[in-house]
Amino acid sequence: MSIKKIIACERRSLGKVSKFQLPHHFKKVGWVLFIVSFISLFASSIIITDESLKSTIVVIVKYTMLIGLLIVSLAKEPIEDEFIKSMRMKSYMIAFILGVIQTLIMPFITLGAETIVDGGSTLKPVNDFFVLWVLLFCQILVFHVFKSTAND
């Protein structure tokens, strides 16, 4: 297969992936999954006493929270037109930039805070769950703000 054919094939595949979206009703499914997971996160720390089981459940619940937010993020609007798509793309761009900035800055903020409180600490990378949570939450929030201001 020639290089041109490979590039054309890759372009088609990327085009399909970039257009992938879920139907609008998945937005509710995503929010329900997120809220149930969020409540379960606190409930598990109270109900479950076994530490190893608790840590396993916390990891699973954190993943389901992220899956819930991802479903909300990928769900279409009732009318998904070009303007909505442009706002969606802008919200992904802003969320991506904020996510990168947060990943770069947070370790230093944490180090500074821990130094003030404990008097010394080491530089630790940002938790992957926290990065993904901020990315998805920022995208959903920014997209919502864009949609709200479009009505004015």
Binding site: I79, D81, E82, F83, I84, K147, A150, N151
Partner: protein, 66 residues
């Protein structure tokens, strides 16, 4: 870019919602175009042109900034 979409809509006695439904977009899209916050694609501009029965240049004008 400026536009006279609001005037053209008024000539046809259409609300933003009516116009949005006729060309298959959301009301926010029409609102944002009218307020010059969003420049529509060629496809959408041609849909508007067909509906108003006028060339695109009649209701979309380039400004000096463009």
């Amino acid at each position: 870019m400026t536009n006279s979409l609001k005037v053209e809509r008024a000539i046809l006695d259409l609300t933003q919602d009516d116009l949005a439904k006729k060309i298959g977009v959301s009301r926010q899209t029409i609102n944002s175009i009218e307020k010059n916050r969003y420049v529509p694609s060629t496809v959408l501009a041609l849909k508007l042109s067909a509906l108003f029965n006028k060339p695109v240049n009649d209701f979309f004008k380039l400004t000096e900034e463009d």
